[in-house]
Amino acid sequence: MKRKTLRRLTSVALVGAMTASLFAGCGSDGGSKKASTKNSEHGGPYEDFLTIDVYDSQANFQGIQSGWFAKVVKDKFNMELNIIAPNVAGGGDTLYQTRSANGNLGDLILINADQSKLKDMVQADLVYDMTDLITNCDNLKQYSDAIEACSALADKEGTWAVPSEITSGDPTEPSEASDPTNAPSLRWDVYKQIGYPEMNTLEDLLEVGKQMQEADPTSDSGKQTYMFSWFKDWDGATMQNASGLAALYGYRFVSGFALGKSDGTDVQSAIDDDSAYVRALKFMYEANKAGLVDPESTTQNFDTLASKYTDGQVLYSLWPWLGSGYYNTTDNMNAGKGFQTAVIDDMECLGYGGSPEGKMTNAIMIGSKAQDPQRLADFIDWLYSPEGIEMSATQTGGACGPEGLTWEMGDDGQPKLTDFGVQAFVDIDDSLQVPDEWGGGTWKDGISALNYKAVGMTAKNQETGMCYNYQTWPDYIERTTSALKQDWAEHYGVDQDTTAIEYLDSIGKTLTEPGTNYAVPDYSTDIETIKEQCGQVILEKSWQMAFASDEDEFNSLLKEMQDTCKGLGYDQVYEVDKENCEAQFAAFQESIDSAK
């Protein structure tokens, strides 16, 4: 009898447990997320400690922000940032789709406002109207034009979003500090060894590559070197690395498959035989045939590639910041080794002018479900304050960091790097420890993972006239003068302080895209479906073409790509893209006219 009761009890308990477990997964996001603990020690106006979910389309880190930047945010706003990064999660737009369909992207949202994104999000009630929140925000007030222009994209009255990279000054002047965003960057020491051969056009890089690979066959750790190494992480509807090569001639994908030249003179269809994109694929194919391409290109990700640059396994860098950021340490530079921008005779390196009304391609918003919207508005306001700009900005953007830690103002009114700053920015010391009073941890881990540029890269503090970007400081330039840079300057016959962008600009090898507030509209669902299907075909075939075994295969793959795309309705998409591209060109012209 006892046994029977026991069995009955057990079965009831089991049933209960199973039923309970059914519902366990379906509750709210749980108590842990918005865990708010009273923080009596905190003296500021923000009593409850909050964990803020930040949906950040540009972040390359996922998780809770740590280190010195976390301490700043905690001290000022009594909150921590939990960064949700689609870049890390992978799968393209999947994370946006699932989170937005669920009705809550995050408490803070950093995403593009164009392509109807802001309009959709406002319509779906995902974004908080901050009109009443920013009435006392002095920093944001300076940018009210930009905020208005960006919020107008929502098609609904209200203040919805603050655009990024707001730049005062001439929109037709380059906004980059030292190099154009796109430029051919080589291992200068190896280029020197083979006698600086002249390059008349892109394809001459192949011969140079062969010689360079022969001259420097092994990396610092003894691995085989390659001229080129590609990666697939940043691919969208097209192969990103091929677009990078097309950008050397001033072309970029303005909308979908329309490849526009940024001086507004030419629109190309990506898959045409003579497009800059197909030329780039052909170049990649020939490089692979010549044994210049790292065989791991097809499978590696950006992190692996970056470590190869650090080790000196790759001799060419698609973007100057990539090679120099990972290889040009003080030690290497003093030894005469490092990346420098070279000149190809017919290139027109694509760079970007400043945008007085900010960039719609990345903007910051408050989520409609945020617990304390006022605090978040204050946080955004802080991001646009001189202090915020110094402390946040990006890993590669050159923000100077907190005053007193990395730099201090000299008696002559010029900022100077502290010893700590030298270790952080000049020596690029990855294991540099931050003093405990600043929050401890390593400098690198503590950098803001938001990867958000509130203002342009060469913006200046209006009170002190100091540029936020340390790379333009005389002190930094003096400290980084090296044998490598000297040699570069001597070769091109310029003076030591000349930056690559100044030099290239002076000889007419750059193409600066004027900043505009033009926002690419979204496709209808029909066109979107075709575009995505075509994009998958183009991406797949592009990689196959770059690694084709012979010319015939290359051509047949190209033909296959063109036929399949055309069959799926490519022309309908391109028609829309072309129109968008022309609207963008008109905006360029407008911007140029207004600058005059």
Partner: protein
Amino acid sequence: MTRAKKSSTTSGKAKPTKRNAAQGKKLFLLILPFLILTFMFSYFPLHGWIYAFYDYRAPLKLSQCQFVGIKWFKTLFSNSTQVSQLIQVMKNTFAMSLLGIATSFLPVLFAVFLNEIKCKWFKNLVQTLTTLPNFISWTLVYAVAFALFSTTGMANSVLQQIGLITEPIKFLDSGDHIWLKMILWSTWKGLGWGAIMYLAAIAGIDQEMFEAAKVDGAGRWAIIKNITIPSILPTYFVMLMLSIANFLNNGMDQYYVFQNSFNKASIQVLDLYVYNIGMTGKSLSLGTAIGILKSLVSVTLLCIVNFASKKTRGETIV
């Protein structure tokens, strides 16, 4: 089915007493969690089918989107390129399913041979080791595959070092023999797990039969051939028929992790195609439409198999 009918008629005759009613309630309570589970995970999600009839775009609400009827179903067959893409996808799906069915006898053989091992600890060890891979997710399997077979992976390094090859072999990033590679991976992962069912069936065979056979002087082979295998064949057939009903459901995990630009054309099975269109390609409505068509075909297949089973074996499976 027939047996169930009999019992229901007998109990129908008996007068329902209080005791029986209480018993019934208890039994119902026992099955309740499973009913809820089935409803929540099998029927409730079906309401999502409605997305196929709208111009849906995240993050809008369905009410903010336009109703378009069967537009997306028509899109699927709107031009020859769409159709030929679909045909290629079906080819991959059929190939993977057929290869799966063609190799479905492997777990049977494995179970039979495993059963012949008399050393108990060794038998358990083998069984555990072969069952374990089933619990490793495909993502981790791919991580292992990558470490072994990427261009700088172990296999290529070893082959290069002993001088067999000079250029690394592209195991992962090429479309050659991809079906074969996929079936090898899934066999490695599923062999031990698939054998469990048959091991249970073997354990259920009447021991007297074996003893009688031994007395009659039958050897090992004769026992396997005449007793073990015939006894587990019914189980095998049920499994086989279920797998035919699941012909279109290859699942997508395995193909998703292994897909890249070089093998996509031959690895994209129906489930993966739906994912690539719906989630990656942002066309959730079209993806849902394909999903619906797939379900309809699957249900039809199941009915056909069920009917065939009734005709040939006198037993249904659903």
